[in-house]
Every structure is written in C-alpha cells, then in structure tokens.
C-alpha cells in the first residue's frame, strides 16, 4: 500500500475570500500581490488611432507590450500604468478608454520555478512564451492576462472575485 498523498484543498471557503496580501515563498517561487495601479481597457480600430488619443506609443502586434501597454487583440489593449495616471478619455472620437483599476488584481509569480508554477494550470507553452509578451488566456477555468516580465517573473492579471481561488491554486502548486 502506498502512502496517502495530501492534496491541498483548492475550493474556496468563505474564510478564504479575503485575499492574502502576505507574500509566500516555497520551492523557489514567490507569490506577491502587486499594489494597486492605474489600469485601463482601451479599444480602437488601429494602434495609431489609439496612440493619437492617449499620446503614448501603442504596440500594434497582438501579444506585444510597450511602456505598460499590451496589445490583447486586433482592436484591444490593456494599459498598466503607475497609480494615479489618468489617460485622456477620447471624448467624441471612435475609441473607448475605460478605467478598470478596481476590476482586478495582479499576482506576481517570481523565481526559478515561476514558469513551472504558471504552467501548472495554464495550457499555453509557457516555457516558450517570450519575455515581454502578454496575452489573455486561462489558468484552469479562470480567465487571466499573463504578462511575462522576465525569464523568472510573470504577472497574472485576474478579476477580483477569482483572485482568492487563483492565489490558493498557485500556492498549492508551488508547494507541490
């Protein structure tokens, strides 16, 4: 008979609904909840049209990032800027500039085992996901935006109500 394997519970109980702000470290991976920032959902027909409205360089290729902006789709961008940054609203122009700073949180996964931790629930080829790329994808069944900052650091954007579950799931993985 083999020994029973203890599997950490992933289901979120009522007591888990407060997000831990305490960073955890295990197996060479640190999880940190990033401080609030100024985040925007941007829609426009072209990167140039958006750049003209917000007065910043806008990456044109899907997956590309530049100066805090990530191109998520052919007409969609995410801006992740220092707290307090305000973008022009583009009133009267065919663009959409929406403040989503309160919509989600960012969990930072950093360390030698970061890629392995992300890959535990993300179906992308995470090892080959280039540094400086960002994309919308899933972690298990939770939609996230994955942003690779370096070989050993990923930022995982997730909607607030999914965050406690995701935090526990990532933590369970790094313990495993």
């Amino acid at each position: 008979m083999s020994e029973a394997i203890a599997i950490p519970a992933l289901a979120v109980a009522g007591t888990d609904l407060a997000l831990e702000s305490q960073a955890t470290t295990a197996a060479g991976v640190a999880l940190t909840l990033e401080p609030p920032a100024s985040r925007w959902s941007l829609r426009a027909r072209t990167a140039d049209a958006l750049a003209a409205v917000i007065g910043r360089p806008v990456p044109a290729r899907i997956g590309e990032t530049r100066d805090g902006l990530a191109c998520l789709g052919p007409d969609e961008w995410l801006a992740d800027l220092p707290a307090g940054t305000v973008l022009p609203d583009g009133a009267g122009q065919p663009v959409s500039v929406v403040d989503i700073s309160a919509r989600g949180v960012v969990i930072r996964v950093e360390g030698a085992g970061a890629a392995r931790t992300v890959a535990s629930g993300c179906p992308l080829d995470v090892e080959r996901f280039a540094v400086g790329r960002a994309t919308r994808t899933v972690y298990e069944t939770v939609e996230v935006i994955l942003w690779r900052e370096s070989e050993t650091a990923f930022r995982v954007f997730v909607w607030r109500s999914f965050a406690p579950w995701l935090w526990h799931a990532l933590k369970a993985c790094e313990r495993a």
Binding site: I62, G63, L72, G73, P74, E76, P123, L124, T135, R136, T137, V138, E143
Partner: protein, 90 residues
Amino acid sequence: MLLIHCPYCEEDRPEVEFVYGGEAHIARPLDPAALSDEDWEHYLYIRRNPRGRHHERWRHTHGCGRFFNAVRDTVSDRFEQTYKAGEPRR
C-alpha cells in the same frame, strides 16, 4: 490537447481558449420581415451538418476575443484551416 490556429493571433493556441460558434457563412436576411415562416425557420435552425469538411465559426474568447472561421473535418476533428471573419468561404 487540440491546438487551433487563430488567424488574428497568428499562432496555434489551446482549444480551451476557444468557443465554438456554429456553422459559418450564414448570412442574415436583409429584410427579415419579408421572409416566409419556412424561410425563417431555415435561416434560424436548419444546418448542413455534413460528414467531413465543415465550415464553422469559432471565437478566441480567452485570447484576442475575435470570431473567425474554420474548416474542420467532422470525422477526424482535424482543423484543415482557419481564416479571418469576412473572408470568402474556402
């Protein structure tokens, strides 16, 4: 895991990021009020349901968010090709 080529992201992505959107190239009638009940039924519900090559819509929901079209073999489940929405039937 099945990989689907998104013509907007221009790369193969995992199937779980996508949502199936039914048969492709079904044009909405320009004047719905002029349709007979039978025509309307045909537009809404009647599909080709072929054995083999099937033109169908997919959406890269958990990715770039775009609808696109695909040709998939309904027997082997193999994706023959995908192309952007609005492009002619292949």
